[in-house]
Amino acid sequence: MAARAELTVPGALAPVAVGPAPAAAGRLGRLRAVGGIWVPAFLVAAIFFLCFIWPLIGPVPKPTGGSILDANLPSFSPGHLLGTDATGNDEWSRLLYGGRASLEIALAVNGLGLLFGGLLGAFAGYVSGWRDNVIMRVLDVLIAFPSLVLAVAIAERLGPSQVHAIWALLFFSIPAFARIARAATLRVREQNYIVAAGLSGTGHTRTLLRHIAPNILPQLVTFAFLGMGITIVLEGALSFLGLGIPPPAPSWGNMIAAGQGILSAQPKFTMLPSAALFITVVAFNLLGESLRARGDR
C-alpha cells in the first residue's frame, strides 16, 4: 500500500526502494553507508545556503530590475558570474532567487502536506469503518482529478503567485501523505503497545497523537524528502506553463520557459536553470533514498 501510494503521485514518478540495503560488509560497507547519507545531506545544505543565505551576505545583484545597458553580457563578466539575460538581469542571481522560490514552495507543500495528510491518514487508518471509507474515497477523487484543471483554475481565479502555487500543489501532496500515513497506521495499530494503551484506558485522541503519530512519523519524513524532489519538478512545470510564479520574478520553471524561445541561439538560458533543477532534485532523491534504506534495515 505504501509503495502504491508513492506510485500514484500525479505528474511525477517516485523512486522505488532498491531492495535491502547493501550488506554492510566490514569497514568499506560502513563507510559507504555513511557516505550515502552525508554526501546528499551536504549537497542539500549547500543548496539551501546558496539560495537563502548567500544572497544576503554575498555580492549578489538583484534578480530583477536590471539595466538594459547590461543586457546579454557573456559569462564571467565583471560582477556578473554567469552573465546577464536580455533585460540585463544577473543570471547567477536569478538562479539563486529562483531556487529560493522553488525551495520555499516545496518546503511549505511538504510540511503542510505531512501535517494535514499525516493526520488525516492516521485518523482514517485508526478509526477504520465508514469514516475511513469516506476519507479514502474523497482522496481518490482528488488523486484522479486532473491536476492541470485545478492549477489553471487557481491561477486564473486568484492570479498566478507563489502562495497560489502552494495551494495547487497541496491538493496532490495531502492525498499522497494521507495514503502513506494510513498504510503505516494500519501496520502500527495491531502492535501490542497500542492494544495496551487501549486497555489501560487511553483516549483515542491521545493514542493517535502520542502513540501512533511518533511511530509513523519516520516514514512520513522519508517520503517528504522524496516529495521535495517531486514538488520542485511539479512547481517547475506549473511555472513553465505560466501558472506558477509570474515573471519577472525568477523561478527555475519560468526561466526554463523563457529560455525555450531562444534555445537555438542561447542554450545557456535553458541549460543553467535546468541543471540547477536537476542537481537539487538528485540531492533530495538521494537523501530520501538513503533515509529509506536506513529505515528498512
Partner: protein
C-alpha cells in the same frame, strides 16, 4: 453477483469506482464554473455588449444553475453523448476520438521504449548485485529519475533537432500520411517520457529479481540442478518478477496522462492534453468535462486492471473479502 471470486472482485471495485468518477466530474464543473468569464465571453471577445453576452449565454445554456447543468451533462452521458463543443459545435466524442489516438500512440511508444531497455538492464544488473554494472546502472537510473520531463524534452530538442538536425522539434504527421514521418515526430516526445519510466522500471525489476534470487526455494532447487545465475534469472526469476512490473505499468498509465499534457504542449502534438489546455482557455465546458471524464475513467480502469492482473497472473495472491 456470485460465481467466480474474480468477477466479484471486479464488481466490487467497479462499484467503488463509480462515485469517484461522479466526484471528479462534478468537482470539475464546480471548479470551471468559478473561473472568471464563461464560454460566451471568450467567444464574443472583449468588446461584446452585456446584451449580446446575455443572449449567447442563454443560447448556450450557461445561465442555468450549476446542478441543472451537471444533471443535463449526466443525462447526456447515460444516453451516450458527451455534448457538443461550445466553441466549434463539433461533438465532444468526435473531438476526443481524433485526439485520443495521438496520446495513446505517444504513451504506447514511450512504454515500449522504456520496457525494451529496462528488462535487459535489470537482468544484467541483477546478475551480480553490487557489481560494477549494477552500481553504474543504479546511479544512472537515479539521475534519470531526477530529470524533469520538460527539461529532458528541451535538452533532446537542442541536441537532436537544433544541433544534429536529425529529428523534428515540432509538429505531428498522421500515421496514415507517412508512417516513418509519424514515428519521427513522436520519437523525441516518447523519449522525454520514457527515460524516467525506464529508470523506474529498471530499479523496480532489479530489486525484485535480486530479492527472489536471495530468498526463494525454487532458486535453490535450480542452483542444485546446476543451472547458472543467468539461466535462473531468464528462465525462472524473470517470470515471477514480471507480475510486479506489469502492475507498475498499469498503475503508471494514470500518471502518464498528466505527463503527456506538458510534453504535447512542448512538441505541439494534437493530443488530449493539448485539447484540454485549449478548452480550459476558451471555457469550453463540454470539452473539458469530456477530457476529464476520459482521464478519470482511464485512471480508475488502469488501477482496476493493475489489481486484477496482479491477482490473475500470480495465483498466490487471493482476492480476499476481508482485506
Amino acid at each position: 453477483m456470485s460465481g467466480s471470486p474474480l468477477l466479484r472482485f471486479v464488481g466490487r471495485r467497479l462499484l467503488v469506482a463509480i462515485p469517484v468518477i461522479f466526484g471528479v466530474t462534478f468537482l470539475t464543473f464546480v471548479v470551471v464554473s468559478h473561473l472568471p468569464g464563461n464560454a460566451a465571453q471568450q467567444l464574443l471577445g472583449i468588446n461584446a455588449t452585456p446584451q449580446e453576452l446575455h443572449q449567447l449565454s442563454a443560447q448556450l445554456g450557461l445561465d442555468k444553475p450549476l446542478l441543472t447543468r451537471y444533471g443535463d451533462w449526466l443525462h447526456g452521458l447515460v444516453t451516450g453523448s458527451l455534448g457538443h463543443s461550445l466553441a466549434s459545435g463539433q461533438s465532444v466524442t468526435s473531438i476526443l476520438g481524433s485526439d485520443l489516438p495521438v496520446t495513446f500512440e505517444l504513451i504506447a511508444y514511450a512504454l515500449l521504449l522504456s520496457l525494451l531497455c529496462a528488462v535487459p538492464v535489470a537482468l544484467l544488473a541483477a546478475r551480480r548485485p553490487n557489481g560494477l554494472f549494477d552500481r553504474t546502472s543504479m546511479v544512472v537510473s537515479m539521475a534519470g529519475l531526477s530529470i524533469a520531463n520538460y527539461v529532458l524534452a528541451l535538452l533532446l530538442v537542442y541536441i537532436f533537432a537544433v544541433k544534429l538536425n536529425w529529428l523534428p522539434a515540432l509538429g505531428w504527421v498522421p500515421p496514415g500520411k507517412s508512417l516513418s514521418g509519424n514515428i519521427k515526430t513522436l520519437t523525441l516526445p516518447a523519449i522525454s517520457i520514457a527515460l524516467s519510466l525506464m529508470c523506474f522500471y529498471t530499479r523496480l525489476l532489479r530489486s525484485d529479481l535480486v530479492g527472489q534470487l536471495q530468498g526463494e526455494d525454487y532458486v535453490i532447487t535450480a542452483r542444485a540442478k546446476g543451472a547458472g545465475t543467468w539461466r535462473i534469472l531468464v528462465h525462472h526469476t524473470l517470470r515471477n518478477s514480471v507480475f510486479g512490473l506489469i502492475t507498475a505499468v498499469a498503475l503508471n498509465l494514470g500518471t502518464l496522462l498528466g505527463v503527456t499534457v506538458i510534453i504535447e504542449q512542448i512538441f505541439g502534438l494534437p493530443g488530449i492534453g493539448h485539447e484540454l489546455l485549449s478548452a480550459i482557455n476558451s471555457r469550453d465546458v463540454p470539452v473539458i468535462e469530456g477530457a476529464v471524464f476520459v482521464f478519470a475513467l482511464l485512471v480508475v480502469l488502469a488501477n482496476l486492471v493493475a489489481d486484477v492482473l496482479y491477482a490473475w497472473l500470480d495465483p498466490r495472491v487471493r482476492y480476499g473479502g476481508a482485506s
